[in-house]
Symmetry: D3
Subunit: 132 residues, 6 copies
């Protein structure tokens, strides 16, 4: 058992996404307990817990990658929530996704913005942003 990594990962997941993140992992663990443990241990216990890059920057990187890849809608939704939770502004999130039009095409940005809009509705963030 890798207790330290799991505990560090669970703390990091709570810091990044609040109780919602742990709830997602608990739901997964009912069907795939080992994979749920790996998610806590490797992405959160090993990677997100590293020094050298702030959590805001980590979430910006993740929102960018998931929008660009364009085939991970449920995970993008989780990380738009997480980006807000660690202090990214709504504008920063919208800007990151819009920027993906340059690197992955307009459909990737459009589909990413549709996810952003869903999360913003849940969080009572009005669109359009004043800055837009």
């Amino acid at each position: 058992m890798s207790t330290d990594r799991y505990e560090r990962g669970a703390a990091m997941l709570a810091a990044i996404d609040g109780p919602a993140g742990l709830a997602v992992v608990d739901g997964l663990a009912k069907s795939f307990p080992d994979f749920a443990r790996y998610i806590v241990e490797f992405p959160f216990g090993d990677i997100y817990a590293r020094k050298g890059l702030g959590l805001r920057e980590r979430e910006i990187a993740t929102v960018a990658a998931l929008s660009a890849l364009g085939k991970a809608t449920p995970q993008l939704r989780v990380h738009v929530h997480a980006a807000l939770h660690v202090g990214c502004t709504p504008s920063e999130i919208v800007e990151v996704v819009m920027q993906m039009a340059v690197y992955a095409g307009f459909p990737a940005a459009l589909n990413g913005l549709a996810v952003v809009r869903e999360v913003f509705v849940e969080k009572d963030i009005s669109l359009p942003l004043v800055s837009d």
Copy 2:
């Protein structure tokens, strides 16, 4: 003609990547002048010039996306240079690319790190980083 956008984009490209960025565009313009102009105007004149997200964060997003997509090696090289140029630390860049193992798999991160290493050699940045 859209002079304002072009001039704003050229200034932004110089701010992000120094003279190297403009040299790349000038090379492209010899064969594909309209496309070279679009690159200055849309990505740099429209997107990077927007408020709401800092240049360091924009480069973090771009390095993340290009590593994750894994099929844009020349562009990743340009943006590792650009990330350093706008003030990202070497550690931040390495962390972003390593994090892509989580979202796009270990081969994407490995191939991204190979590009990072090439750029760091050109810039006399020693690896491994002390923080690693």
Copy 3:
């Protein structure tokens, strides 16, 4: 403001997709007005408005790319409509998507054909086509 590009793009969008295209952009503009403007200006005002390739050929290229990429279903639906609107025959559209089995695999073609079928139902185009 880039008024000329916007007006040229809006005219091109109407020529390609009829009133439905402008309605999609207007819906987007309620949440993301700048991105809605970029879509009119760059893809339609800059690219589709260029000489050197006919609109039928542009839509064939777009239907091919979106089917092959396989992660842009809403945009593929729009462009199957647009392809019909600019004069592609139903057979041409089905042939393009089938051909993607060669370059992107059978699942990409199958999922593209499912979108084609939905649009053809809306447009009262009977399947199978006589030519098939």
Copy 4:
């Protein structure tokens, strides 16, 4: 007409996926008869019918590829069924999809496991597996 390939493919499809596979092809044939015929002839009549690799191994390769590509959910569902039908154990299927976290990222594996869970519910296979 390529009768031999079609008959060999139809027999192979029935061997791999039972009557469900042929039903899928029959449904497709109502709209796209030629493409339905190609699917029987090339993937099943040419490729799966070849010697040199067992059917269990062929389904492991297909489940791996479709999970990794991450944009072919309906086809992944068919091939999780097929993998069970040709004798892969539930554990083998779960292991293959989990392994894709290494090569295509955790979202690809997570979305693949969601499909596995749906199929296992239909087949009354309890999760978590005892081996997990």
Copy 5:
């Protein structure tokens, strides 16, 4: 043996790409004879030989898809040659690849244009095109 399809495919391949296309297949056949045969039979004997879409349009679709996918450089080179061979103008080819910036991002278009330039050099087609 499926003699008819092979002969029809070989004739189609010669019509599309001249002797170069058959030479590529012959080279492949030295190592992978069955796969070389499949390439002649399915893409060329079944798909390209179909009615309902002209060869110019088929090559436009293929150049679009291969540029957008961005991971099939050798095949893109073959099909830029083929597009010229079946009568696409240099402008049409450049326009198709540029248009992929919209759907697959600027790096995909840039890397596609680099392939176009290589082929145009071989064919003594001067860049920039006068129309650009």
Copy 6:
């Protein structure tokens, strides 16, 4: 420190790929020691070390996924070696890669077969295989 996972992973890597696998990791560790450690620990110490799927089947899944993704050539080369090392026959490897034409398109299979040929040359495996 997660000593057990590292040792288990290093043993698994040696079992799968012989001394060559460890040499690759040692080379990586000179520039990116933490990432080299993660590769030993997570893919090999956690995933490949699991019960429920044989090593031959794991390599079939990996060769399939890397061929289908088509952007991980160095990693595909390593895993064609590994597949041979754990007992896959040359035919099985060729069949897996050919099968990817169905799911990821002919270019993915062609580019995968080019890697297979390189590795087979190094290992003195003659092509074409007698079974082909």
